[in-house]
């Protein structure tokens, strides 16, 4: 059984950014969404989706860091050693999901740490778009919603 991580359903996500607020509020007691570790991406006109670290097995962010400031823990979370991070941003470029942010207040990168297994973004999303799930748990949901949408399109065609 693989590890749980933050996964967002693009069918339910409306791009409200409440998850961004919940994250930055919890981590740095701030209203600034730039300090959030989960970020909303808008694809007009189709919709939106929130992205956070997906816990890559062979994390490219870790390999790319020139100061070795990133470390993958037992749990799979990418930990940032603040003293070693110089804000160069190579990890941001290396991440294929755009899941790393540069915290403007400290000029150090911040990455989702799953809030000690009690992720706030999941709690606060008003549309229940974000789940804390394993890949196995998430896949059937996506499969169902993709099929649902396909069927809907087939039905509504004249």
């Amino acid at each position: 059984m693989s590890k749980k991580f933050i996964v967002c359903d693009p069918d339910k996500c409306l791009g409200c950014q409440i998850c961004e607020f919940a994250c930055s509020a919890d981590k740095v007691k701030s209203c600034n969404p730039l300090s959030s570790r989960i970020r909303v991406v808008n694809f007009e006109p189709q919709g939106s989706m929130a992205i956070a670290c997906v816990l890559c097995e062979k994390a490219p962010c870790v390999t790319s860091c020139p100061t070795k400031a990133l470390l993958k823990s037992e749990r799979g979370i990418i930990q940032v050693e603040e003293k070693k991070c110089n804000g160069c941003g190579w990890c941001i470029a290396a991440c294929r999901f755009g899941a790393i942010t540069l915290d403007p207040s400290k000029n150090i990168v911040s990455i989702c740490d799953l809030c000690a297994e009690d992720p706030k973004c999941v709690k606060f999303c008003p549309f229940e778009a974000i789940s804390y799930a394993t890949v196995e748990e998430a896949a059937p949901k996506f499969r169902r919603s993709a099929m649902g949408q396909l069927l809907q399109e087939l039905i509504s065609k004249p």
Partner: protein, 642 residues
């Protein structure tokens, strides 16, 4: 200063000069932002008697203290000017991303003056403002223009507000469209932009607002988001998400007050065909939309295939729009309603005014005051949806009969004459919204006295406040309506509620906050708003002070109108409301001129205005720290002598 950016951008389109001014903290505290700030600027800078479509008129776009703070309903801004439709106070609000982005760009408000020689658009990027050529955009539909501008400024995240061809053609009720389907709809603000040859305003910014007590603010907001039930609010716990504001249509029908056939009737037999429930099952809704940090998600995008092909970028069926173009015109074809709304948004025209003007024309056609000769062959029988859709486009383009209707229902009726003024449904020139006043007397007073004219948003009472106490602001057991019969009550307690709500909503429209999310509709209480403002600004502000501020703003807008010649004689309603309702649970109800007179007498008493003229007294204005306003009215001979 905390909570505000502290700067206003002034743009003069005549000489191309762009300048920054400081927003004084004392002004911010006295006028809050949004409507308040706009009223202050416009009262001070736009002299009475100015033609709203001339360069001397000014356009103000203002955010407020809560804009950008992450909680539901924060992301609003106001667009204000002297209205080309009514000649008095013009104001419209839009939600979405533009307001917060404007603040991030470094400004609390923008003032636009003068007129450009050729079409231009304004590009504001992190405090740098540039007037750019827009000749290639003139004539483009709203979203087209927005998308091109986003490419030109090379920033997908730029927020754009623009007018469509209707604004360019100076349709008097043209509107301004902001990002996705957020419209500053009423009173013709789009025509003001059109008259200045200003096609659009684009903003992008990366600054942050500084808050006085950010940690306290964060705690307040976290507490708010944690209580998911309270977030929904009492009025429609799930309705707004499930059905959008269109849910109102079934409500008004089942309570016998759905404006139908130009207010001749109050029940629409075919209402189910255009109801929110039908829309939900139709398969037309493809997506919900929401504003930043809002859990309500009242907005939805629709898509329909031919014959009424609707582009989902444009068609969002809100109640007012849908009713004005369906029951009000006896139209039961849902697809045509969505198509008409889509066209209004594409061309940039207020849907309510459009619907009212079309219904007026249908009544003229019924009575033989206009014929197919006048309408270029269009058959304007009640409910003819093909004609309705064609007429929308004609109005936007000012083609044929459309050119007359583009002047608004008041002017169109004056032109047609022969008794047409009797069924031109407006107050002070603003077409009436979809509320049947004979079944809700508090709203009747509101429409007669509202600062924008025939408006439903600036004061509400009756159904909305049933059972919703708020003793902190004087709404207690004696003032709130308790049941459906109270909607017909027109006595002093109802008028008192009207006065309190007028001040409260003036405050909301200055914060600027979305009314779906706050008392009485939504879950945010007045006490919470007070705490949020205090934490954001560091002011030791109380609810009493905020309500006084609301009263000040309401009086300032009234003074603006008084200066343009408005007095008690203009606080009226169309004659049709003195006729009895023909059917339904409120059959036989009327709003007699005697009742309105009584209500007005109480109203002026509560507001401490002169009873004879409806003008704020010197004493009241001085009490509200508007002494200079009193002086000016006095010098113009407009102040009552008592």
């Amino acid at each position: 200063m905390f909570g505000y950016m502290g700067k206003i951008l002034r743009v003069n389109l005549t000489d191309g000069k762009v300048s920054k001014e400081w927003l004084d903290e004392s002004i911010a505290r006295k006028f809050i932002g949004g409507r308040g700030l706009g009223a202050k600027i416009l009262f001070d800078e736009v002299k009475p008697g100015v033609d709203p479509l001339r360069p001397e008129n000014k356009l103000v776009i203002a955010t407020g203290v809560v804009t950008g703070i992450p909680f539901p309903g924060n992301s609003c801004h106001s667009v204000m000017a002297k209205s080309p439709l009514t000649g008095i106070w013009g104001e419209a609000h839009a939600k979405g991303f533009f307001g917060p982005e404007l603040k991030s760009a470094g400004f609390d408000a923008i003032i636009i003056e003068g007129k450009a020689d050729a079409p231009v658009y304004l590009w504001i990027n992190d405090e740098k403002a540039e007037i750019r050529n827009a000749s290639h955009l003139w004539g483009k539909l709203t979203r087209e223009a927005q998308n091109i501008i986003k490419m030109e400024v090379k920033d997908e995240r730029a927020q754009v507000g623009c007018i469509g061809p209707a604004g360019e053609n100076l349709v008097r009720f043209a509107n301004v469209l902001f990002d996705y389907n957020h419209v500053a709809g009423r009173t013709g603000m789009g025509a003001v932009m059109g008259s200045k040859k200003l096609k659009a305003i684009a903003v992008r910014g990366t600054s942050r607002v500084r808050y006085a007590h950010e940690e306290k603010l964060v705690d307040l907001l976290l507490a708010k988001f944690t209580d998911k039930e309270a977030l929904k609010g009492p009025y429609w716990p799930d309705g707004l998400y499930k059905f959008g504001s269109l849910a109102d249509l079934s409500y008004w029908q089942t309570t016998g007050r759905l404006p139908t056939m130009n207010f001749k009737k109050c029940l629409f037999p075919a209402y189910e065909a255009v109801s929110a429930e039908t829309l939900a099952e139709s398969g037309y809704v493809i997506r919900h939309n929401t504003c930043p940090y809002c859990n309500v998600a009242c907005n939805r995008a629709t898509k329909i295939n031919p014959p009424y092909e609707v582009d989902p970028e444009y068609a969002t069926p809100e109640y007012e729009s849908a009713a004005a173009l369906s029951s009000f015109c006896m139209n039961s074809n849902l697809a045509s309603v969505l198509k008409a709304i889509e066209l209004c948004n594409k061309y940039g025209m207020d849907t309510i005014s459009t619907g009212v003007v079309i219904a007026f024309m249908m009544e003229c056609y019924e009575k033989g005051l206009t014929t197919k000769e006048d309408t270029e062959g269009l058959d304007l029988t009640w409910g003819n949806h093909e004609s309705l859709v064609q007429l929308v486009e004609k109005i936007a383009r000012r083609q044929g009969i459309g050119s007359l209707l583009a002047e608004g229902v008041k002017r169109a009726a004056e032109k047609i004459g022969r008794g047409a003024e009797e069924f031109a449904m407006h107050v002070k020139g603003l077409e009436l919204p979809m509320h049947e006043f004979r079944g809700m007397k508090g709203h009747a007073l509101a429409a007669a006295t509202s600062n924008r004219g025939g408006c439903h948003l600036q004061v509400e009472t009756d159904d909305l406040f049933e059972g919703q106490l708020c003793p902190e602001i004087g709404i207690d057991e004696t003032t709130i309506p308790k049941n459906y019969r109270d909607r017909l009550y027109s006595g002093p307690e109802k008028v008192k509620l009207n006065k309190i709500v007028g001040d409260l909503f003036a405050l909301f429209d200055s914060f600027v906050v979305c009314k779906w999310t706050v008392y009485p509709c939504g879950g945010t209480k007045i006490t919470t708003l007070n705490e949020i403002v205090a934490a954001a600004t560091g002011w030791d502000v109380t609810i009493n002070e905020l309500m006084k501020t609301g009263e000040r703003i309401f009086n300032l807008c009234r003074a603006f109108n008084v200066r343009e010649g408005i007095t008690r004689k203009d606080d009226t309603l169309p004659k049709r409301f003195t006729e009895p309702l023909p059917e339904g649970p409120y059959k036989g109800e009327t709003l007699s001129s005697g009742t309105l007179t009584e209500m007005l007498n109480y109203y002026y008493e509560f507001r401490e205005w002169d009873k004879g003229t409806g003008v704020p007294t010197k004493k009241k204005l001085e009490e509200l720290e508007l002494g200079y306003v009193a002086k000016e009215l006095e010098s113009l001979g407009m102040l009552p002598t008592t």
